[in-house]
Amino acid sequence: MLSIKDLTVNVNDKQILKGINLEIKAGEIHAIMGPNGSGKSTLSHVLSGKAGYTVTGGTATYQGKDLLEMAPEIRAREGVFLAFQYPVEIPGVSNIYLLKAALNSIRKHNGQPEVDAMDFLTLVKEKVRLLEMDEKFLYRAVNEGFSGGEKKRNEILQMAILEPKLCIMDETDSGLDIDALKIVAEGVNSLRSPERSFVMVTHYQRLLDYIKPDFVHVLAHGQIVKSGGPELALELEEKGYNWVEDNQAAA
């Protein structure tokens, strides 16, 4: 699905990612954990094509194609979805409008006709129920005036409707209370399939209690310093990030 090799990235001439290697196969869930400032959001942004990052070396291959060559919207239409750490408010554009625009862009990209209005509404309402949101949210401007938790839930709602192949979730758990966290986790779990992969970026292992990862990677100072199974997350929780950072310093 996604293969990242020796990826190095600069922001304003400062190297932030210092040679990332990551192999993600279809159906897998990878958790990327790391302290604040380690480069987690940078990695998520570079994969989804945000401007302002300079790739100075390495590759990211998505389904056999050079991901870094594609415009952000093409990546999205090809099935890469970023759930933002800080979702953006878009006054004047309703949630439902954006969902329709997004879904139809994907369909057009795949040579399919526009979605039928009734089918669309049925689909959207089903997902709204799944995430236990109020239907009124659909008609409100994207994220405008939403609480932190509502914004995160809205990201997962979009993800559920657009059915991406590669879901990158940047700190989706932050700002969620425990009930909301469970609902979001259920939403994500319902999307799990052998064709869909997840990259869950998180600071804490809390989310991983509800969404079981296949692999856990620890990112520190722009490098993956340790990889393992779900038990690594627990170990981290216990020993703190200093443990891996110390290891890295020793190495």
Binding site: G49, A76, I90, G92, Y97, A101
Partner: protein
């Protein structure tokens, strides 16, 4: 100002004076003569005047616009005209400054309500007109008002009596055709105590260089509620001056929605005087493309305590267009507990576009809550990326965001026919790709 210009107009005046309405009324003859003299002295406003500092009307002065003696509707496409009529409204049509009975829809009016042409009102109820004409618009304010008073050839007269709630809107459809034509119209709208009404002013023209000079005086009685909509979609070669001058009584509510879309050079004045606990809401949207110059000048006079004013003007400027917003809020020494908020937001879509914004708060009372905010900026890159990450290409994302910025003002219009017309105007001025009307 160039007095040569003024004298050309004053000489021209003698040739049409006898055809103007109300010339048998001594008070009006005197008023017009006074206004003419004032204009001869003042001429059109100059950028040296503080309230005209961003707008140079010398383009108007270079021409000699001619009033038409009658309606001359020969070249008007009826379907085109009808496309601007709001469904379910009472419509009064003025063509080249003259009332057209043929195109107007004034049937089924409640008996107590007057909706008629100004010429009709001067013939049938001159005392009413005399009482209000010039009461809200001061002729000494600037040359366009004096010009209008001297020249007006017709207009709309509305009187809604006390306690009457009009369930259908009244529309003034103002059409000008022909190069160098001039349409000078004067309107009076009166809503008596506890009355409620909605009045729509629409200004359109064919593709020629003409001058519209319109003055509307509005009187909102105690506890009355009046909403005035203005959409000017003049020809892209036209000059437009349209002033609305409002007097609100105690507890009166007035809402204005100003959509300034057309004209090579367009200026709107919206000046309101507020009494005790009056509420005044001014909304505006101006769109400039190509070389358009669009100026909106608002003034809210808080004269008495407890009045509330809310103002939001948004501008979208592309190409080499220039938008001007001057908003004055004056809080008199007696106007304690005034609550006023003024905002102006500008979106520049090109490096050559320009926005001049000048909010002015003049506060003479000490116990008030007054705020203002101004922004001039480009589309937000974070928002563009967010939309791109949701499969939307960059150009479409820009169009969506531009549309959304402007549409906030369109969405405030609750009269469906008018809302849809304004939406259409908005969509024809900016790239439509990216905005799917069916999805809205």
């Amino acid at each position: 100002m160039n007095t040569a210009i003024a004298s050309r107009y004053t000489a021209e005046y003698q040739t049409i004076a006898s055809s103007l309405p109300g010339q048998t009324l001594p008070w009006l003859r005197a008023l017009r003569a006074e206004a003419l003299a004032q204009f001869a002295e003042q001429g059109f406003p100059s950028p040296r005047e503080e309230e005209w500092r961003y707008t140079n009307v010398s383009g108007i002065e270079k021409k000699l616009f001619a009033p038409s003696a009658d309606i001359t509707v020969g070249d008007i496409n009826t379907d085109w005209l009808k496309s601007y009529q709001i469904e379910n409204a009472w419509v009064l049509v003025l063509v080249n400054g003259h009332f057209s009975a043929e195109f107007s829809v004034l049937t089924d009016l409640p008996e107590a309500v007057s909706v008629m042409s100004m010429a009709d009102a001067l013939a049938k109820q001159p005392a009413q007109v005399e009482k209000y004409l010039g009461l809200a618009a001061s002729q000494s304010e600037h040359g366009f008002i004096a010009f209008n008073t001297a020249w007006f050839s017709d207009g709309l007269f509305v009187h809604v009596p006390s306690k009457l709630v009009l369930d259908r809107p009244i529309q003034l459809l103002h059409i000008v055709t022909g190069d160098d034509a001039m349409a000078t119209t004067r309107n009076i709208i009166i809503a008596d105590e506890m009355a409620e009404a909605k009045v729509i002013e629409t200004f359109v023209g064919n593709d020629s260089a003409y001058l519209t000079a319109s003055v509307t005086e509005v009187f909102v009685g105690q506890n009355a509620d009046l909403t005035l909509y203005k959409m000017q979609s003049e020809s892209e070669k036209a000059y437009h001056f349209g002033g609305s001058y409002i007097k609100q009584a105690r507890d009166a509510r007035f809402t204005h929605h100003n959509f300034a879309f057309g004209g090579l050079l367009a200026r709107s004045d919206i000046h309101a005087d507020l009494d005790h606990a009056s509420e005044c809401e001014l909304n505006g949207l101006y769109l400039g493309i190509k070389r358009q110059h669009i100026d909106n000048h608002t003034r809210i006079n808080h004269l008495k305590p407890y009045a509330i004013s809310r103002e939001l003007y948004k501008g979208v400027l592309d190409d080499r267009a220039r938008g001007v917003f001057q908003g004055r809020v004056i809080v008199a020494i007696d106007a304690q507990k005034t609550d006023s908020q003024m905002n102006n937001r500008n979106l520049l879509l090109s490096d050559d576009a320009e926005a001049d914004t000048k909010p002015q708060l003049e506060i003479y009372a000490d116990d008030v809550k007054c705020g203002h905010g101004v922004t001039v900026g480009q589309l937000d890159e974070k928002s563009i990326f967010y939309l791109q990450s949701r499969c939307v290409d960059e150009e479409t994302a820009r169009n969506m965001l531009t549309f959304a910025f402007a549409n906030e003002m369109v969405d405030k219009v609750k009269i469906r026919g008018l809302h849809d017309m304004i939406l259409e105007q908005l969509l024809t001025r900016f790239p439509q790709e990216g905005v799917n009307k069916e999805w809205l």
